[in-house]
Amino acid sequence: MTRARPGGGASPPADAPGNDPSREGARADARAAGGEPGPSAGAARPSRAARLALGVLAAGLAVAAAGVAFLRPAGGVRPNVILIVWDTCRGDRVEVNGYARPTTPRLAAFARDAVTFRECRTPAPWTAPAHASLFTGLLPRGHRMREGMGDTVRPGIPLLARTLREAGYETVSVSANPVVSTLTGLTDGFEHDFQRFRIPGSGVTGNAVRDQVRSWGLRRRSVRGDRRPVFLFVNLMETHLPYVAEPSAVAAVHGDAAVGPATAAAAAVGDLEAKLHVAGVRRVDDGTVAALSLAYDGAVREVDRITGEILDFLDGEGLLDGALVAICSDHGENLGEHGELNHAFSVYEPVLHVPLVVRWPGRLDGGRTEDAQVRLHDLYATILQATGVPTPAGCGLDSVPLTEFPLRPRPVIAEYGPMARSRDAARAAMPDAPEEAFASFGHLFRAVIPAASPGAPRPKLVLVDERVPGRAPVVVREELFDLTADPREQRDLLGAAATEAARDAAGEVARALRALGEAGR
């Protein structure tokens, strides 16, 4: 670097060629600062204003160049980011996590050159807060969106799309879920916000999402000059009630005999029926619940197929070259466990455990599997790391990149509720239900799982508080499970069946986990 000497001009380095414009510029700047007359001083010398303008221009270019260099990752090229969310897909129903049925052949093929995080948990078993965590790197208590029904993300916290867009990314959302839309503000920052909502009776499925991605991609190809890196977010809803139980998909997973019961159950049980079941107003019988599980697997097979077709298209367009591609779910689904359906009012494993497979050539690849516990919102820090974009103030506080090697397990804190606005809607939808059926809407459900090495005991605390504004929380339920020995959460270590000594020991663990849950990280 050339610096001006006090009282004199710049001292050119010995190897500086005389016609190097950058170094010449440095000398000119030094002369302007130190007052040394230049070799061409005289009539042709630029005016002071012109030199000042040139100086400002040069400084601006230098700052811009430094900014670009700062924003780019070490490799120099900012990768595309492709984020595909399988809304409501359970972690235990995908082959890469050990499921024995052929639900996800395309995901398995993708995983052969990616990293599979087999123990990923969501911070919230409901679309709005889970996506808000994914887009901010914060727990729900940090971003404050709990219902997404009029409550917004905390002011001053930019979502991932806005951060990437301001860093020069083309940001594209294709969402099948109306929860991920302008309605909740979760698509803020996406310059293309395509809505392909899969709602009952619309006839719209994930095929429409796939076609929209193709349409956008083809248009992008035809536009010359726009070669910004891309952040493409896709939300697919096949595994959300009412399940898309395509006969061919159900047959591929469970055989032809399953098609009839599965399609009948999928047609019979929608969101309202699940609500009535959970509220205890009208229970869905066990046979239908079992058939619903078959339908669900067919829906997983469908979302897998559509994802494969989207990836095929993106690959053909060259958009996957060097890209970070993440396939995940926002939360899981109850299929009769603990008497539950849908994904409300529950923080048990069926709704917390989600699939997560990430490919980022050179960092997350090779077909590796990781059994250390991670969180869905760890993707936030991973994406910013890959793009080289600095984390905005207040964001990413609960998120750690998945590139850490060896990967250390991270504590999980998950929250659901209270759902005050949903209660009003449920009362209207179920006018005959007794008032006690709506008690859960006022509860805060929490789960705490500490960081534990794979194979070691993994205690999990389930805590349900009644929350009334202006009053201290009242504990409604507290349970402790060991996920290693009891992955289905059937034996409550705080329950009456345990011995007194075991209950005392469990109580100690529960207290520690409660403190961890309160601390937040």
Binding site: M149, G150, T152, T182, K275
Partner: protein, 114 residues
């Protein structure tokens, strides 16, 4: 009839106070809209009206600069900020501010959430 100078004291004080309040409203209150959320920020208070859900949120910025939702809203603060939003929209009540994202809301309802 000639009024005593004392008579003018109260109106004068009120006028000065009104001007000060109005001036304060103009100088430190910012009205902004992003998507369906209309917001008024005044000092460390932020009022939001969600034009899709028709809900109001009140936030207060703490010493660390973090916005925290006010659980039991201060009615006076809420009224003042709401009035500023209405004035900015030329509306006499929140009902006059048109709904936004109505298609999304219908989709949300059709999915069974409402």
């Amino acid at each position: 009839m000639r009024l005593s100078p004392r008579f003018w004291v109260v109106p004068a004080v009120l006028a000065v106070a009104s001007i000060a309040v109005a001036g304060g409203m103009r100088s430190d209150a910012a009205v902004e809209s992003r998507g369906p959320v209309h917001a008024v920020v005044s000092g460390d208070l932020r009022y939001e009206f969600h034009a899709a859900w028709r809900t109001e949120n009140l936030w207060r910025r703490d010493a660390a600069g973090v916005w925290r939702r006010v659980a039991g809203p201060d009615a006076a603060a809420l009224d003042g900020l709401r009035a500023r939003l209405l004035a900015a929209h030329g509306a006499s009540s929140l009902d006059d501010i048109p709904g936004i994202a109505t298609d999304e809301l219908e989709a949300f309802r059709a999915l069974g959430y409402l």
